[in-house]
Amino acid sequence: MTDREPPAPAVRTRGLAKSYGRETALDGVDLAVAEGGVYLLAGTNGAGKSTLLRCLLNVERPDRGAAFALGFDTRLNGAEVRARTGYVAETGEGTYRWMRAGRFLALHSGFYPAWDEEYASHLVRLLEVRLDSRLGALSKGQARRVQIVAALAHRPPLLLLDELTDGLDPLAREEVLALLAEHLADTGATTILSTHLVGEVETLIDHVGVLRSGRLVAQAPAERLLGRLRRYHVDAAESWTAPPALEARVLRRETGLGRSLRLVAAGDEAETAAAIADSGARLLEASRLSLSESVLILLQSERHHDFA
């Protein structure tokens, strides 16, 4: 028994399920995000990422299960959760097309007693937000900047960022991600980031969850994911087949030229290397995967037992 209990998750869900007619958006999702953690929610289009974030705000009501955020049951205390959350929605939700950006931010600020006017002005300057433009006249990227200011300026303890950099040009992406890094270092906010561009947030995140068809098929600390996933470059006869113990670890098989074979496998590197050697193949090299590669492999593979 340890001296200290692990901290309770800032966000967790239990068997969260949501359907739209016959379409299942979420299917028994058990999510856990540590306080101060930055959680990457990965998944293909329609996997249920946005629905999950919306359920955490009680903007979308789950059919079954429960969600808790910052100590609140989101179904009973949705308003309290929203008061403490900075939310960047995937779509244009959160904007009024006829309203000028400056007016919108003024309206939004009225709902957050912790709104930091000075910080908001700093963000507006940094992101070059056009305050006098109507929201409907802004480009997708410009509208995104307004949403980012609205989400961050009250320094909430929870950030739900759905496709944060969607619509931003490469330069703006870099600026926004640097800004987010600075913001997180400053506030220590618990963050759930949903994005398809894993590579650009790799340095920020410490936990990864993979959603597929509404099911959270994998969930693990990024460190564990990087530590247990390896690409093994193997020299093996064409007739070589992996023994069952090794096969169970393999998440992806990439055939090369001639006898060259690359296997992406989960588990302890030494054990996997020994299993390859025992099978009659020769291990040429074992290399680490980047986080975006790891996430891509988890998205493609059916085997997630090591990270479930």
């Binding site: 309770a8 800032a10 306080e35 705000l57 009680n58 903007v59 910052l70 100590g71 609140f72 179904r75 009973l76 205390n77 949705g78 308003a79 309290e80 929203r82 008061a83 403490r84 939310y87 929605a89 779509t91 939700e93 959160g94 904007t95 009024y96 097309r97 006829w98 309203m99 007016r103 309206l107 009225g110 709902f111 957050y112 303890p157």
Partner: protein, 291 residues
Amino acid sequence: MTSPERLRRSFGPLLGSQLRTTGLAIHREAALAAAALALTCLLAVTTSLRFHERFHALPEILLATLPIALLLPWAVWRGDPPFGRAYLWTLPVRRQQAALAKIAAGAVWLVLILFVALIALVATAAATGGAIGLHEVRLVGPPEAGAAAAMPVAWSTPAWMWLIPFGAALTAYAASSAALLGLRHPLRWLGGAAVALALLVVLALNMGPHNPLYEGIGRFAETLIGGRWGLDFAVTGGTASLSHDVDVPGPGSVYLWRALPTTGAWAGALAVWLGAALLALALALRRHWER
């Protein structure tokens, strides 16, 4: 971790923010309506002056704002689809509180629109030398006795009759808001109901003049519109239900009143219709209720 303390937010600031938001949402339509109103008043004045006729300001004229009251919820909720991804639902207030504030803000704007229309009406009447309200002699008596047996009674539009358009507009606004908030596809439902009703009437007409369906529809419509608690009493004070045209010897006809409009009859009918609309609105709000 943040302690789970309950969020408290008073309704006043929320209403204030929704007044600003809805004001901005409807400002283009409001500008157009103001221009149309100004043009109409100008036309009325020039026509009156040209033909040496006086324009009298009557409460019934304000009923022209009823379509505005029916359409206003659609403008008020623009950008915040009740069954879609609305910014309103992401705010840190209970959904029902946010929705109520928005509905109330729309109602405030509606009353303001009516006041502006009323002022324009009075100003137009004043500019043409017309009267504010109606001053006439009405023939009052039992319909079956005829015009000869009716008593002439001096009638001036009472002050309470100026409240009728306000009550009617607010009832229409509440009913329309209920449809918008309670039905995922309100236009489909309303269109479907209208088509179903039309088919029913056509069916009744094709069954001959004295079939039970035809008579049932007739009685229902009579109760709904001209009955004691009917729509006519709520919307006009009972002007259409209480009077009818009767022939008199010689050319022309006169209006015979079986009774003159009263505050009680109007207030009772308004209470029924406004109450029904508010009940529908409350039921619609239940669909968005947040614990």
